[in-house]
Symmetry: C2
Subunit: 154 residues, 2 copies
DNA sequence: TATTTAGTTTAATCGCGATTGAACTAAAAA
DNA sequence: TTTTTAGTTCAATCGCGATTAAACTAAATA
């Protein structure tokens, strides 16, 4: 039950676009997502600048800019060899996704808390609702801290 | 220790812009976030179309479009009275934030899973890393299901 | 019925980020 | 030293979503 090379290739291309779409949805440039996708799906896990622009059919300019950003954000690592640069996915903290979500929860918590502070009537319908959400967020964070420990001690 | 009216008003205005920025960061139009902010912070929790456009200094056109979207997404509820429309925040499911995050986790899980499927070498460094992330996501979901029940049975 | 009012629709504009192309730089190769 | 190559920089463009203004509709009011 082996996969044909052309199946694999077209599967990869589709997936690279899916990566692009997903990363675009969380605020990246489409090209950034496609590069991450390529570095994720390709069998050789370290690719040169040239390989990247040829496979994705993007200009040197955008590749240069986007790769610099990805490297500065520690999503991609670069290795220089001769005058070539090779790129590979940087395997970050497993909880990166969760970290980002927790930061989002913190923003919401701050907004709702400040909102309640500004309310004349702390018992208003919205004030009560916001308090419930804050409560849920706090429970969530406790719950997550526990889970992180569990995962880390395996 | 009471807050002056003008303090409250300027605090509200600042917070409304913070809501705008936050909602913009998660993919809404800035105006959508500011409307949600206004409906959240204002003491009267039900405001007319006119009150909204006057307080936020936005055009009837954008207010109309954005409010229609917010209503269709059930973020805002509308009450018609005479020929006026009144809007209030729709108090959604407490877990809305978490629901959205879980959908995001599902997308990532799908991308990584499909990526592994396409790999020739399932033991490659990236394949192993992706498997760890998938594992963490699965643990996260279990953990969340438990927490939701705990919150709901209080 | 005529008028006023609340909100909708839509064409036009504005601003901005993503992308490209081409000139440019620095370093390796010849 | 000259040439080639890899990648960078940056001005120009492209496309698109957000916003507005103004014409328009429908319903309430006079």
């Amino acid at each position: 039950m082996t996969m044909l090379d052309n199946e694999r290739l077209s599967g990869q291309n589709r997936l690279i676009d899916d990566f692009g779409a997903y990363f675009e949805s969380i605020g990246f440039q489409p090209i950034a997502g496609r590069i991450i996708g390529l570095l994720s799906v390709s069998d050789r896990e370290e690719l040169s600048f040239d390989e990247i622009i040829n496979r994705l059919k993007i200009s040197k300019g955008s590749a240069s800019v986007v790769l610099r950003r990805l490297v500065s954000e520690c999503r991609v690592a670069v290795v220089e060899s001769g005058r070539r640069h090779y790129y590979r996915l940087n395997q970050q903290n497993l909880f990166e996704l969760l970290d980002e979500f927790e930061r989002m929860c913190d923003s919401v918590r701050y907004l709702l808390n400040t909102t309640i502070d500004l309310k004349t009537d702390k018992e208003s319908s919205n004030a009560k609702y916001f308090n419930q959400i804050i409560n849920t967020i706090d429970r969530y964070k406790t719950s997550m801290a526990t889970m992180r420990q569990a995962v880390q001690t395996i």
